[in-house]
Symmetry: C2
Subunit: 394 residues, 2 copies
């Protein structure tokens, strides 16, 4: 009889436990993020409200260059690794949900506006592959053939565009292509034209209207206004280097959708210690900012009033903050050695900064510049928040 | 012994159950939303990926006019009801987490950029009250006193602004005030100036820079560029009614942050069957659009290429779609009787439309206009998606 009572109690406890466990494990995903631990093939899942690490997940291969996008429900991160790995990470279960090695060498990716397709831009073999976001089953393979000898170009600057489309740039070929998945069956591939010499990265604005590719082989950028039909590529900031000798470039700048601020694009120059300002209405030059070193990322605070800039080695211990209307540097500080990336909370009240060679991520108040927190991580690089899932191009 | 085995099995099952239950109840919050059931004091929690209703939650009092904001983790909706109710709804546990009756008659609310404060704009007693977002404990009470007889104005147009601030408009007083909670202790209240006759609503742009209040007592809008110091109010689109007789207004238009599209503000006129277009750089009139009836909501698709418009009774069975560059109507359709609200998914691939008098919400492809789904709800009105938590002003 006693044992029967034990059984009854255990059964009741099971019921209670189910409820309690279910409830205690519940959390929202809107304030989560990941930080890449670039030397360990690991990503740390972070909580931006608590300013804490929830868990670090191993097994993501070569993350020496990595980026990520998020599912619409913000439960999953899709991490694109240098080794061609595409890893779907479950931020709630804190484990790898699925992983495929889809190429030999890969640089970045994107997710379609409806959240159903994940695209990866590959160096080797050059081209873009597209996968079902839920299962990671292959959906399409778009080899970046160019020229007459069957060569395949590295692809860069891959973004999503409204209407279940992707746009990407062929580095070696100097071309921009679009893949439209809105119809049934195979995607429609359009070659939009020539961007210029060695376009190395690109961004799309948050309204999905302007695609801008930076050139490495010449001074200038290529611009497409996607509202124009037919779509055409125009050159902007042509010859911005003014014929002056370029500095040796040890680390390419990066273009992200955060470049638009206060009616201007603030973009890193290549081979110069400068930011370029472009009027967002006319696409004419609106000024320059001399900065501490060669800029790598120029990231607008969400209100567009400031742009925060980090720099290439050896000046990569510094962040400068630029006031957008005046184009003046209003703040400078040195969080530590090797600042690789910065990410703002979506309404912009705080910013997270990865300091690789101090094995930490620091958190700052984005208005007062006061330090609000610090998290130990191993060789942290990219910081990505789930709020990106709500924005075109990120 | 047999019972011991049963106990052992039950204990093991408990362990398995805990894990399984925890996992099966897990879901992301990034693609959730709520729909107000205005006659039943109920909100339905919806899944925008699955296009389904998860659960409807009762007990929210008078929702005949209601709006909502979301916590940064997107787990909680804060619903502001006409009866002065402020209800925190847990979207994962699908129940009311906390509810307070904080005034006699209330119109809307906002959440601070750091997600820690929820403010409510009250008609009676006129003023704004601010609460701790976690506990709903009162933090501040800002009575909207004006004139010399101790009267209190209704408050409207309450939005958050970067830096832990709120801006709101005093309808009866015709003034705009700001409350700054960034310092320690009591908030700093600033009276920014006079907006005009009976400002009835306001919006703030997604960059938190421009606050625009519509006037009911005269033709015109009041504009503040928050980047200017000192802050000042300027009149825009003054006298847009051109002295013509206004139509009787049965339903006031609403201003939301979605008004900015493709470099223009597209705003509903008051007492006219027109939309007003304002150049977002110069704030000069950029054109008008004659529309089907008196517009209530003019909501930009997230890519800013189109604005979708619904209308006041008796023409409220129709939606028109305006192409922003040309200001032409490119589509018109009639989902059903009493279309009260529209909400786009954050990257803009679909739009949800509440059709109150057909007791349904319809879901459309935002590019092809094809209907994608329909959900039965009782007298649905406002539709709000959790993605709002990532945007200033919503």
């Amino acid at each position: 009889m006693r044992l029967l009572r034990v059984v009854a109690v255990l059964a009741a406890l099971t019921g209670l436990c189910l409820t309690a466990a279910a409830q205690s494990s519940l959390r929202g995903t809107g304030d989560l993020g990941i930080v890449i631990e670039r030397a360990d093939g690991s990503v740390c899942i972070v909580d931006t409200s608590a300013r804490s690490i929830l868990s670090c997940v191993d097994g993501l291969g070569d993350l020496s260059h990595a980026s990520a996008v998020f599912s619409p429900d913000q439960r999953y991160a899709y991490v694109f690794g240098r080794d061609g790995g595409l890893t779907k990470v479950d931020l709630l279960e804190r484990r790898i949900a699925k992983r495929v090695i889809q190429a030999g060498n890969s640089i970045g990716g994107a997710i379609s506006d409806d959240g159903k397709l994940v695209a990866v831009s590959n160096y080797k073999p050059g081209g873009v592959k597209v996968f079902d976001a839920r299962t990671l089953e292959p959906v399409a393979d778009i080899p970046a053939f160019y020229g007459t000898a069957g060569e395949r170009s590295k692809t860069v600057g891959l973004v999503d565009a409204p209407g279940r489309r992707f746009i990407f740039t062929l580095y070696d070929a100097g071309e921009i292509w679009m893949a439209d998945f809105s119809g049934p069956g195979k995607p429609e591939i359009s070659k939009l034209g020539r961007a210029g010499e060695l376009p190395y990265d690109a961004l799309i604005t948050g309204d999905g209207r302007h695609y801008i590719a930076g050139l490495f082989g010449e001074d200038g950028l290529a611009h497409i206004d996607l509202w124009n039909t037919p779509v055409k590529i125009t050159r902007v900031l042509d010859g911005y280097g003014k014929g002056e000798a370029k500095l040796p470039v040890y680390k390419m700048p990066h273009l992200e959708g955060w470049a638009l601020a206060g009616g201007r694009f603030i973009l890193p120059a290549v081979g110069r210690s400068e930011l370029l300002a472009l009027d967002a209405a006319t696409f004419k030059e609106a000024g320059r900012v001399k900065v501490h070193g060669q800029p790598v990322f120029a990231i607008a605070r969400p209100d567009g009033r400031q742009v925060w800039v980090n720099f290439a080695h050896p000046l990569n211990d510094t962040i400068q903050v630029v006031d957008v209307p005046s184009l003046k540097i209003v703040h400078e500080f040195k969080p530590g050695p090797a600042i690789l990336h910065m990410e703002f909370t979506p309404r912009g009240h705080e910013v997270w900064v990865s300091v690789r060679d101090a094995d930490k991520v620091e958190i700052y108040d984005a208005r007062t510049f006061e330090k609000r927190g610090e998290l130990k991580m191993r060789k942290p690089s990219g910081v990505f928040f789930t709020a990106r899932s709500n924005r075109i191009g990120l």
